[in-house]
């Protein structure tokens, strides 16, 4: 399902490299000179206390925020800053901390929007809803159905997402991102506000996406149990700075990390 046609990056090599990125809003420094990379095929976690700059970092990667300093290299191409449509067309998909779905639309339509960039027929055909436009719509519909099957949300295909419980909304949002067939999937707190069972489901989907489709994943998560189980490598931010970077075990035993979480005076 996930083809990743133009991905010249081999598994294990660097897919994304963030170098020396600094971001400030007026006088507030959200990120201070952070460098890290994401290797193709891995699950990379970004953790840290509230306000550490985790979501800001995701926003820099997919182009919502433009850092004052630093470079972002994705698939070998370096940029000073990303733009949302470039990020999307290059294969970066994301979900949001506070579910950002199209509330009035059905589950199916929400996931269909993930196919936007894959649809190529011109406006002319769309005016008549005929010919190539119809064929294309059906092909994409087929793909979306497979995403729906994968996430086990067949029963809510036609339901307006505004009516769904929170856990399912999160799942639909993941579906929309998956429909983009991304090379890099950014998940901002995919399990926030979920109960244990929902968390287990979501963890399973994250692992399956990674192993079945080879999708590289960078995720922000507060549940340490989940983070340590899922991820290959963990980046720890605190006050906008990188304080640790390594395997879950390394990070767990790092004194700076323990201090940051326990709130030791600096």
């Amino acid at each position: 399902m996930m083809t990743g046609t133009e991905a010249s990056v081999a598994p294990g090599e660097q897919l994304l490299n963030v170098e020396d990125v600094s971001l400030s809003f007026g006088g507030v420094k959200a990120i201070r000179g952070v460098s890290f990379n994401v290797k193709k095929g891995e699950i990379r976690a970004i953790i840290g206390p509230n306000g550490a700059g985790k979501t800001s970092m995701l926003n820099v990667i997919n182009g919502f925020y433009h850092p004052q300093e630093g470079t972002i290299t994705f698939k070998g191409k370096s940029r000073h800053d990303m733009r949302p449509h470039i990020a999307a067309s290059q294969g970066i998909a994301r979900t949001f901390q506070n579910v950002a779905l199209f509330k009035g639309m059905s589950t199916l339509d929400n996931i269909m929007t993930g196919r936007t960039l894959k649809m190529k027929t011109s406006l002319f055909w769309h005016l008549w809803r005929w010919g190539p436009a119809e064929t294309e719509e059906l092909a994409h519909r087929d793909h979306v159905e497979r995403v729906i099957d994968f996430l086990e949300i067949q029963s809510i295909r036609k339901t307006p997402v505004g009516r769904l419980p929170y856990g399912l909304q999160k799942r639909v949002e993941l579906g929309r991102a998956l429909a983009m067939e991304p090379d890099l999937l950014l998940l901002d707190e995919p399990m926030a506000g979920m109960n244990l069972e929902e968390k287990e489901d979501m963890s399973r989907f994250v692992l399956d996406v990674n192993s079945q489709f080879g999708t590289t994943i960078a995720l922000i998560e507060h549940d340490m149990g989940v983070v340590m189980d899922l991820s290959d490598r963990v980046l720890v931010l605190d006050y906008g700075q990188k304080i640790a970077d390594g395997t879950p075990d390394e990070v767990k035993n790092d004194q700076d990390v323990i201090d940051a979480y326990l709130g030791v005076a600096h």
Partner: protein, 319 residues
């Protein structure tokens, strides 16, 4: 007192019953106005959905479209070529507005964008007067192949006169309204439009281009404005006063809801029917001419009961 109550609650209905041919005539005229109001309201709804902006300049776009058409014809361009060129002009306008007005103001408060459309409104008035002059002009009705005659029908022992131009206006308005409704509900572009209306950031994250959507909706509104300008211009004349007609969309939107395409259609018809009925049957009580303000009055009353409109999304906020 009794006389007033009789005049308000009894007499109009007796008149309706005693002269059904007149009632039919009034209803027909209400229907024609209603379809045109629905068309204008649709122009507002599209832009409001995509960008959250109430486009104050919609009215002047109606005038501008009609003036361009008449102006091009006056300098010797054949009618249908002029119509085609006007479509291009509306496209250029949409593109320019996106580049010069919307893009620099992205992420600003809706009120700022609203102010910008007021600015656009006066800019277009000035530009229109500069290029075409301020005096009223006559729409090139027959040159465009629009019928000008009328049909007389004998019904209920009376006479109902139906202007062929009105029939054409209603048919064209229905086709445009239906076409736009289908386009924005069933196609990829429509899905993208609804996505943008719901959540800008999420739309950006899946690669939907806000700029492209804005150009498309402004162009669609431009086409609607041009069609309205032609029809309304043919019924009266082509002057800057036409932009007042476009503001009739305001009560339509209050009735139908600012974000609903079916709402614009139903709201337009309700306003069309009710203003004609009110003018004809209740107008004489207060000396006539209530057509111009009655829709606003109706909308105000309606606001008491359904502030979100007939089809608008109900806003429930947790405190």
């Amino acid at each position: 007192m009794g006389g007033i109550l009789y005049g308000v609650f009894v007499d109009p209905f007796i008149q309706m019953g005693s002269a059904p041919d007149l009632l039919l005539q009034v209803l027909w005229e209400g229907f024609v106005s209603g379809t045109l109001y629905a068309l204008i309201a649709l122009g507002f709804v599209l832009i409001f959905k995509a960008s959250g902006v109430f486009n104050f300049a919609q009215g002047i776009m109606v005038v501008f479209g009609a003036l361009s058409l008449v102006g091009l014809f006056a300098i010797g361009v054949p009618a249908f070529l002029a119509l085609f060129l006007c479509l291009i002009i509306m496209g250029v306008l949409a593109f320019t507005v996106e580049r010069a007005v919307l893009r620099p103001l992205v992420n600003q408060e809706p009120i700022i964008l609203f102010m910008a459309t007021i600015g656009l409104n006066y800019f277009l008035i000035g530009l229109g007067e500069l290029v075409f002059g301020g005096e009223p002009k006559t729409m090139i009705t027959s040159e465009l192949g629009l019928p000008t005659g009328s049909w007389d029908f004998d019904v209920f022992g009376g006479l109902v006169i139906i202007q062929q131009l009105d029939v054409a206006a209603a048919v064209i308005a229905c086709i445009l309204v239906g076409g736009l409704a289908v386009f924005f509900n069933k196609t990829r572009i429509g899905r993208a439009l609804r996505a943008v209306a719901d959540d800008h950031q999420a739309a950006l994250s899946v690669g939907i281009s806000l700029n492209q959507i804005w150009v498309i909706v402004w162009f669609a509104s431009g086409i609607v404005a041009l069609a309205t300008g032609i029809m309304w211009g043919a019924k009266s004349d082509v002057s800057f006063a036409l932009s007042i007609v476009a503001l009739k969309a305001l009560p339509v939107l209050i009735l139908g809801g600012f974000t609903s395409i079916p709402g614009a259609i139903v709201g337009g018809l309700i306003i069309g029917f009710s203003e004609k009925l009110a003018e004809f049957y209740w107008g004489p009580l207060v000396g006539g001419s209530i057509e111009s303000w009655f829709p606003y009055f109706l909308a105000l009353i309606f606001l008491w009961f359904r502030p979100q409109g007939l089809f608008g999304e109900k806003l429930i906020e947790r405190v």
